[in-house]
């Protein structure tokens, strides 16, 4: 179906719509009805339109546009090519679900008034859209900063709490350190020409400077993505933000960083060096393992999910690293396989992580509780949320036939089909890396069983959970949209890869033929090497289920008797005897002890009021960040010598500076 206008114009129209919705929210900041019944649903429709336009643009030619905005002589250049279109598709499709959920989520009396939330929210998604469209460094940085600032306001929406302000500050700090690095990277890339990406594509940098530019880009975008060791803001900022915002940040904002990295690596830089790929691969593996191990010991449900985001970013970086390695050796079809796995995982993570973050939002509203140790048994009270969250849980655990498995499968295939890289040490590295990926993926299963089991299953650990209510209609609709996406992405990989092929073709000059034997069978490279048919998989499971059910009922019976659970001869059992979150994570704490900085307080047998306390912290915080903070403080103390707090002194500084400058100019 042809679109009524060009995709670029449609997308800009949606951006304008979002800004208008935000402004409407500011005009009536306390009118919850307007915000939740009109503005957010309209934003969701806009997101759908944007997704459709992006899908249309994916297969078409790149479209450019110069907006006469910004500084004189520095207009905003916009460009919609396959890579941008793919990430816009991700943004639109996921934001539609999140906005729908947000329509039912924001309340009065929870920090920032709903109208203002509406403004920040829509500015945030509009700026992310423009980041993906930007075609010059100036526009990119402006939108990038708008994105960081608007999300900062969203993170600190409950700003009366000190710890939330602290989380917001940490987020803003690392965002800006990263932004400086990105700015420097663009400074290197532009050579002697102007700052448009078009010029940067033409510039031929010397390998040394290209490597510096690569390092800057990796640092800057890695800081935004939550790559080790720049991940510390992530587990603080995600739990602090309202759930739809956590979902948006985790699902979309982290992906804009991946987009930036891909843009610099495969579009702006004209060469790829194999060891860049190794660096990304190793950092990705470290990030994935670190994230998943930490997520297993968390006792706050949103922190757990935030660490799991770090893990997934690790997987994505592993894919990027493999792509660079293959591409640098000219193994194009393998590079296409690795890049497909990467992009597939981006969209998968966007779907299941936003689904789970939103589900925690519903739980939070129903119970006012984020600590896993005070939840439990919610599948009886909140069946909608629980069953939809189950889909997300299975998907994120990487289980077939849902979507998380497909990208893991593709990634492992990319490892396995690494036949003979011309570098002997790399050949050694690949199996070890594959083993680490497999370990992290298996640990993700552990984490998700903990998450789902403790929150939704078992008996309620607190009395007041009995009053928990299920999510409202708009919240449910948002969750259903995302859960349906998880299933669809899982069972129709061939169609999805057909879409991704546009991007791999544009970036690498080679596409991955998703299937040689029909739409049902996913057979990258060749059918004899590997094939996977999730739909058949699902059908067999359902058919056997149904057949067994019918057979058991017709040959035997379907009688059921309800009774109290078996108490092992000890009748005083209560809900506190279930595994707590700490208890469930205990094996991981023991097996991966060197990862953690742990402090235990154990009661003696004679304590009348025994207290058991364990705190698990991040070594990196103590090894890297606190020393850095100390150094910064020392430097600032020297700098404060200049600051006397008197205007006359400052005027004198200005005067002296002016004099010195005049001397130079002469």
């Amino acid at each position: 179906m042809p679109l009524p206008a060009s995709a670029m114009h449609l997308i800009l129209g949606v951006v304008l719509l979002w800004l208008a919705l935000g402004l409407a929210g500011v005009l009536f900041p306390h009118n919850l009805n307007l915000v939740s019944r009109l503005l957010f649903p309209a934003g969701a429709i806009g997101a759908l339109v944007l997704a459709a336009a992006a899908l249309d643009a994916l297969s078409g030619e790149a479209q450019s546009l110069v907006l006469p905005l910004g500084l004189p002589g520095l207009p905003f250049h916009l460009r919609l090519d396959a890579l941008s279109a793919f990430f816009l598709l991700l943004l639109g499709a996921v934001t539609a679900g999140i906005s729908l959920f947000a329509a039912g989520y924001f309340r009065r009396g929870e920090g920032t008034p709903p109208g203002l939330q509406c403004l920040y929210y829509h500015v945030f998604i509009a700026s992310m859209t423009l980041v993906l469209l930007a075609d010059d460094a100036y526009a990119f940085m402006v939108f990038w900063e708008t994105m960081a600032l608007s999300s900062y306001f969203l993170v600190t929406s409950d700003h009366t709490k000190a710890e939330i302000r602290r989380a917001g500050f940490l987020y803003l700090l690392i965002a800006h350190v990263g932004a400086i690095s990105i700015l420097l990277c663009f400074g290197l890339l532009h050579g002697t020409g102007d700052y448009t990406f078009e010029n940067m594509r033409e510039v031929q940098l010397a390998p040394f400077w290209a490597t510096i530019a690569f390092a800057m880009a990796l640092f800057g975008f890695g800081a935004k993505a939550g790559m080790l060791p720049l991940h510390v803001w992530l587990p603080e900022a995600h739990p602090a933000a309202p759930s739809p915002v956590s979902a948006l940040m985790s699902a979309v904002m982290l992906k804009t960083a991946i987009y930036g990295l891909l843009r610099v690596l495969f579009d702006l830089l004209h060469i790829q060096v194999w060891w860049w790929g190794v660096v990304i691969l190793v950092l990705g593996l470290a990030t994935a393992l670190y994230g998943v191990v930490f997520s297993a010991v968390q006792s706050d449900m949103k922190r757990l999910l935030a660490y799991s985001s770090i893990e997934n970013i690790g997987f994505i970086l592993v894919g990027v690293g493999l792509t660079v390695i293959f591409q640098s050796y000219g193994m194009r079809s393998l590079a296409a396989l690795a890049l497909t796995a990467t992009l597939y995982h981006c969209i998968n993570h966007a779907y299941f992580k936003s689904l789970l973050f939103l589900a925690t939002g519903s739980v939070l509203h129903a119970t006012h509780e984020r600590a896993l140790g005070k939840l439990g048994g919610l599948i009886h009270r909140m069946p909608w949320v629980a069953w939809l969250a189950l889909v997300g849980t299975l998907a994120i655990a990487g289980l077939p036939p849902l979507n998380g498995f497909v990208s893991e499968w593709l990634l492992l295939q990319a490892f396995l089909f690494t036949p003979n890289l011309p570098h002997p040490y790399l050949n050694m590295l690949i199996p070890v890396a594959a083993a680490a990926v497999a370990l992290a993926a298996a640990l993700a299963g552990y984490v998700m069983v903990k998450f789902y089991g403790v929150v939704f299953l078992g008996q309620p650990r607190e009395e007041r959970l009995a009053e928990a209510h299920d999510a409202g209609l708009r919240e449910r609709a948002g969750l259903i949209w995302l859960a349906a996406g998880c299933v669809a992405l899982g069972v129709a990989p061939v169609a999805v890869i057909g879409v991704i092929d546009n991007v791999t073709g544009a970036l690498l000059g080679k596409t991955l033929g998703a299937s040689a034997t029909g739409w049902m069978f996913l057979t990258p490279i060749s059918p004899a090497r590997a094939s996977y048919a999730p739909l058949l998989f699902l059908l067999v499971i359902l058919a056997v289920w149904l057949a067994t059910w019918l057979a058991v009922r017709s040959f035997y019976h379907g009688r059921v008797r309800r009774a109290p659970p078996w108490d092992c001869g000890f009748p005083a059992q209560n809900a506190r005897m279930q595994d707590s979150a700490e208890g469930f994570g205990q094996p991981i704490r023991q097996v991966f002890e060197p990862f953690f900085r742990m402090q235990r307080e154990l009661p003696t047998p004679f304590d009348a009021t025994p207290r058991y306390r364990v705190t698990v912290e991040d070594h990196l915080w103590y090894w890297l960040y606190l020393p850095l903070a100390k150094v910064t403080e020392a430097v600032t103390r020297v700098v404060t010598l200049l600051q006397r707090g008197r205007i006359s002194v400052y005027l004198m500084y200005s005067f002296v500076t002016l004099l010195i400058l005049l001397l130079f100019v002469r």
Binding site: I379, H380, L394, L399, P400, F405, W409, Q413, L416, N427, M428, P431, V432, A434, A435, A438, L439, A441, L443, G445, V449, G453, V454, L457, G458, Q459, T517, R529, A530, S531, Y532, A533, L536, F537, V540, I541, V544, W545, T548, V552, Y556, H557, R559, V560, R562, A563, P564, P565, W566, Q573, M577, Q578, D579, G583, F584, Q586, P587, I588, Q590, V591
Partner: protein
């Protein structure tokens, strides 16, 4: 693409797997009884247990959710699917393009996650204890299993189990050192995954040591019967994977009818020897403390990774 003869062969294989699985379990138990100087209940005892359980009414805890009731069926369906893609008698399996070796590991993971969730559903101390331990065994066993399967796929340049087996049967007299390592790792993993000594003890109900039994404590009647049947089927499928990867001789290639007929006695003989060996391992080793299990599984994992490294060092 799917031929009728292939479909018939496929369904026969699945049926055979479901029918033979309890017998294999009975055989292992019988061997163990003999080694302990007991007469043993006979190899058909699992069938009698199943019949008894199916006929009994199912007792459910008051707060059991639908997830709890659905899990036995999901578990059974997973194991049937696993049996469908492992070359048990022949390599011509119409279902085998549906899932390869990685997806096979995924099926086992799916089953494990479901049973662990079901164990946490009632909210008893035992259930969550079992779930936690099962996931602890799982997170190390799963990558180890994946790595040993990877070694075989690297040798045959395919992750499709049917192709792997075809490749290995054709390479009659080639000895792959990497497969030896992978074989040891696989054996260690299959003991752990099937809740056998030294990681778990299938015949205990002592709370300090239970893993699998702790998880299924709340199940009864037909649900328990399905879980027992799935456990038997899992043991059978694991044995068949071991046979297919490390002793593939005798498995019919393609849709060769005579080969299929001859493959059955070969399979039964191999399973009988394998079951005896498993009983012997169980007899000779002691159950280890639960926190020694990560060491044991870590060893298996490292052996499997070593197998892959050896493949890259020596065989390419």
């Amino acid at each position: 693409m799917i031929s009728w003869s292939g479909l018939v062969a496929q369904l026969t294989e699945i049926l055979l797997a479901v029918l033979l699985a309890p017998v294999l379990q009975g055989w292992v138990n019988q061997c163990r009884a003999w080694m302990q100087n007991k007469s043993g209940p006979g190899i058909l005892q699992p069938y009698r247990t199943l019949r008894k359980l199916f006929a009994k009414e199912a007792v459910l805890a008051h707060n059991a959710s639908p997830l709890f009731r659905a899990t036995p069926y999901v578990l059974f369906a997973c194991m049937v699917l696993a049996a469908a893609i492992v070359p048990i008698l022949g390599t011509d399996l119409p279902f085998s393009p549906a899932a390869d070796a990685i997806a096979l590991v995924g099926i086992f993971a799916l089953a494990r996650v479901f049973i662990s969730l079901a164990a946490m559903d009632i909210g008893t101390a035992f259930g969550s204890l079992g779930a936690r331990r099962e996931m602890m065994v799982g997170f190390l066993a799963e990558p180890a299993l994946l790595m040993s399967l990877f070694t075989a796929s690297l040798i045959s340049h395919s992750t499709s189990l049917a192709t792997i087996v075809q490749h290995l049967t054709q390479a009659h007299f080639v000895i792959y050192p990497s497969l030896a390592f992978a074989g040891v790792a696989f054996t260690m993993v299959s003991l752990a995954e099937n809740a056998r000594i030294p990681v778990d003890n299938p015949s205990t109900h002592l709370e300090l040591t239970m893993i699998h039994e702790a998880m299924v404590l709340e199940y009864s009647g037909r649900h328990l019967a399905l879980i027992e049947l799935s456990a038997a089927l899992k043991l059978f499928v694991y044995s068949c994977i071991g046979i297919a990867l490390f002793f593939p001789f005798g498995i019919a290639e393609g849709g060769d009818a005579l080969g299929l007929v001859l493959a059955l006695p070969a399979l039964v003989a191999k399973l009988a020897v394998g079951g005896f060996a498993m009983a012997l391992i169980e007899m000779l080793s002691a159950k280890m403390r639960i926190f020694r299990a990560p060491e044991y599984l870590g060893t298996a994992f490292l052996l499997a990774v070593l197998a892959m490294l050896i493949h890259f060092l020596l065989e390419t």
